[in-house]
């Protein structure tokens, strides 16, 4: 156990030495904190319309820091709520795809042989499908709720994770400690849950960090097209769509949520790269 702890401590130390990754982590934490707390502090709510100041540009004088949209809704609150919803959907979708992917991959890697062949063939076939188009079918077929959205995105996002987990699991299966455990009489369930999955965690963390921005992009892509999050709920995607519609007269409506989205995606990418280097010094 102490060996495992020192591995993580080592990784943390290496991560702290990576300035881009540390700064990104701080920015993300700050953004998450503001997105969680901000709407509670603000005097406005997301759907509240201020008829005396519709389409006001950002500034301090009108009481709307980031301006308002054409309906007089406060953009500061809407961008924060949008960030919160986009982050929440991305996190949940990532968790869904990690749970499916790691389980699938670990079982395939453990079983090997024909079971592995069938399971990975299934992944190959699904990989060849244009997954995003299936998410679109899902959103057409079922009601467009945020809950469905993260399940749909997560359900198509697990394939890469399954491949990675399976490769790692197969390598682990050849290690002595697994052999010792099998010799000591451990059953398949115990091997998978106690030995394979914990040892996959490092890889999983790296992939999760790199998967979250992908999930955010998928969610905002669908919301941008109008088949994701629906009004009056705000997500970064539908805020950008709203802004794009009014960009000639009110460019800030586009620039604020777009800037926020780009910042989040870039930070997660830096953090993921940093984590990969920290957890796997050989690849750095």
């Amino acid at each position: 156990m102490s060996a495992a702890r020192s591995l993580w401590r080592d990784a943390l130390r290496r991560l702290a030495g990576n300035r881009a990754a540390t700064a990104s982590a701080l920015v993300l934490l700050l953004l998450a904190a503001v997105a969680l707390a901000g709407p509670a502090i603000s005097p406005y709510t997301a759907a509240q319309m201020d008829f005396s100041s519709m389409g006001v540009a950002p500034g301090l004088h009108a009481g709307h820091w980031l301006g308002t949209d054409r309906l007089g809704r406060d953009l500061f609150v809407r961008v924060l709520l949008g960030t919160r919803l986009s982050l929440a959907i991305a996190l949940l979708a990532t968790v869904v795809s990690l749970v499916i992917g790691v389980t699938w991959g670990a079982v395939a890697g453990y079983a090997g042989g024909r079971v592995d062949g069938v399971m990975m063939r299934a992944v190959d076939v699904l990989y060849a499908l244009p997954t995003l188009f299936f998410v679109i079918i899902l959103t057409v077929v079922f009601d467009r709720s945020p809950a469905l959205l993260f399940v749909a995105i997560g359900a198509v996002g697990w394939l890469t994770m399954a491949r990675v987990a399976r490769g790692q699991a197969m390598a682990l299966m050849r290690r002595e400690f697994i052999e010792a455990s099998i010799a000591a009489g451990a059953g398949p369930a115990r091997i998978v849950t106690r030995h394979l999955v914990p040892n996959l965690l490092g890889t999983v963390v790296v992939y999760a960090t790199l998967m979250i921005p992908q999930m955010i992009l998928v969610e905002s892509f669908l919301s941008f097209l109008g088949i994701g999050i629906q009004e009056p709920l705000a997500s970064l995607g539908n805020l950008i769509a709203d802004g794009a519609a009014d960009m000639e007269t009110a460019p800030w409506m586009l620039l604020e949520p777009a800037g926020c989205l780009v910042l989040i995606v870039i930070c997660f990418n830096f953090l993921g790269d940093g984590l990969r280097d920290a957890l796997d010094p050989r690849s750095a």
């Binding site: 060849a128 299936f134 079918i137 077929v141 892509f221 097209l225 950008i240 794009a244 989205l261």
Partner: protein
Amino acid sequence: MLVYVLKRIAGSIPTLAIIVALSFGLVRLAPGGPFDEEQALPAEIKANLQRAYGLDQPLPVQFGRYVRGLLHGDFGPSFKFKDFTVTELIASGLPVSLELGALAMLAAVLLGVPLGVAAALDHNGPGDRLIMGGAALGVAVPVFVVAPLAALVFGIYLGWLPVSGWEPGKLADMVLPAATLALPVMAYVARLARASMLETLRAPFVAAARARGVPRGRLLLRHALPAALTPVVSYLGPAAAAILTGSLVVETIFGLPGIGRYLVQGALNRDYTLVMGMVIVYAAFMILMNLLVDVAYAWLDPRVRPGAGH
């Protein structure tokens, strides 16, 4: 080589069959049908409509009929674009989408590769930093952000290019959409080309060629570049996927009458047959692209060429 190509074609038929079955199954899982409008239709009218579209038949019969139609190039009637079949909508949109996608793909590769190579030759220099910084941004900024910004800057502020609309054969209409669509792919291609060029330049065979006195230009173009291109070629499959998805946004924003826009409208209108047909066309196209990429890969890299080393 021919056997390899035929084998790959045969191998892609089950994938296509699964796609057709999956999209048909998903659509039929839907709670409610295409005729559940806000104003409920009288029962007899609804029954008549369902009979007209064959929805009163058992599912296997409907599936059989749909597949038979597909084999004859018939995707069925559109539920919401009345008087149009899905095949007609696809036929009207496909040329526009193909032109857009091909232009974007060409721009991405023809600009991305030289940029990546230039960055590799200036390893850690200012040019390298500049190109890679731009590429990092290009990868992170999604098409649906770039597209409205490009329309705002080049279309409205500068007034250089048309912002929306499309006339057959008018290239100016395609410049902004194709450029925005190409940008993220170009950024990724530049990164790949740089990384593999750096690796290739350190490879023994390049050193050997240099030792033989091969001139620098020939060394780069004839020896290093083909070897460095293989990762770029294998990325072209995913690149086609990225361009396809991006085209949904770009066609919607710039008002191009391609199939991407029909797919989005179909999804918004819950036009089941239209969405299914579009997904099948996209999937078939993806499979074709992956096939072409594999063949090109085998042609470029002797190590994976089928039959080599046996």
